[in-house]
């Protein structure tokens, strides 16, 4: 097990970095969706007034 981890250090780093990066991407997407919803709500509100 330890041998395997030692030999593939780079790939472990790679998986971790990719995981973090995908986490950031998913987080940003949810934020963007929220912003789009808010923008639409605001547009509606303005239309009603």
């Amino acid at each position: 097990m330890i041998d395997f981890l030692e030999q593939n250090q780079l790939f472990i780093v790679l998986t971790l970095v990719l995981l973090i990066w995908f986490g950031i991407l998913i987080y940003l997407r949810t934020i963007e969706n929220k912003i789009v919803k808010l923008e639409q709500a605001l547009k509606k509100q303005k239309g009603n007034n």
Binding site: L10, F11, L14, W21, L25, L28, I31, I35, E39, L42
Partner: protein, 231 residues
């Protein structure tokens, strides 16, 4: 905007894979092998992440200064929001550049902090833009807040050119390209192997696009906050 979003996600994913996965060998025979750089070995891979973060922070601060200038000449609130957004992204990326740089410094120069001129100048930048946000929060009158923070941002942006581009090259330091070094450093001097160069510039492109996406998101939240009078 959609293209920028997907392109930046894709490019940075590719850069992460092609920056970390390829092995380093003494005599690279194929395009997927990186050369061994004496003294750096595997640590050189950080160049694909550390330099682009520093690059994005510089770009973000310059863009912020530009929008402050636009605000003063046009008095359009949108530019003020953009200037603030860009400055906040710049602050985030300069923090990232400090952290990635400190990690690199630990393994290459021996300690996290070496008082290299470039490390000092990024501290200047952090203080300057931290002060910018503090200044924004300490002026109550909306119009004079926008005006004064724009003036400060321009002064700060112009003086930051001096200590990000000029001062580190005048003083002796550990970064490549400092005074007393043989050349301008690996990137500007062009002494870098082909595949590293390609990955590096693709990484720069990816991070710049990512910055544009973040700027777009942050500006839209700024506009929403303004419209809803949420402060």
């Amino acid at each position: 905007m959609k293209i920028i979003k997907y392109l930046s996600s894709l490019i940075i994913t590719l850069v992460i894979i092609s920056g970390i996965a390829p092995p380093i060998v003494e005599f690279p025979m194929h395009w997927y092998q990186y050369p061994i750089i004496p003294g750096l070995e595997d640590k050189f891979r950080n160049i694909f992440f550390h330099v682009p973060t520093a690059w994005v922070s510089t770009i973000a601060f310059l863009v912020s200064t530009y929008y402050s200038f636009k605000y003063l000449t046009s008095k359009n609130d949108l530019y003020d929001i953009k200037a603030e957004s860009s400055a906040s992204i710049g602050l985030l990326f300069s923090l990232l550049a400090t952290v990635t740089g400190a990690l690199w410094a630990k393994f290459n120069w021996g300690s996290f902090w070496n008082w290299d001129p470039r490390q000092v100048s990024i501290v200047f930048l952090l203080i300057i833009y931290f002060a910018y946000f503090l200044l924004r929060s300490s002026i109550k009158n909306e119009i004079s807040k926008n005006n004064i923070s724009a003036v400060y941002n321009i002064i700060a942006g112009i003086s930051s050119i001096f200590f990000t581009f000029i001062l580190p090259r005048m003083l002796t330091g550990l970064h490549p390209g400092a005074k007393g070094g043989k050349d301008l450093g690996p990137i500007l001097g062009g002494s870098i192997s082909g595949n590293i160069m390609v990955t590096f510039f693709v990484s720069l492109l990816g991070f710049t696009l990512f910055y544009l996406w973040l700027l777009n998101l942050r500006t839209r939240t700024g506009i929403l906050m303004k419209e809803l009078k949420y402060d």
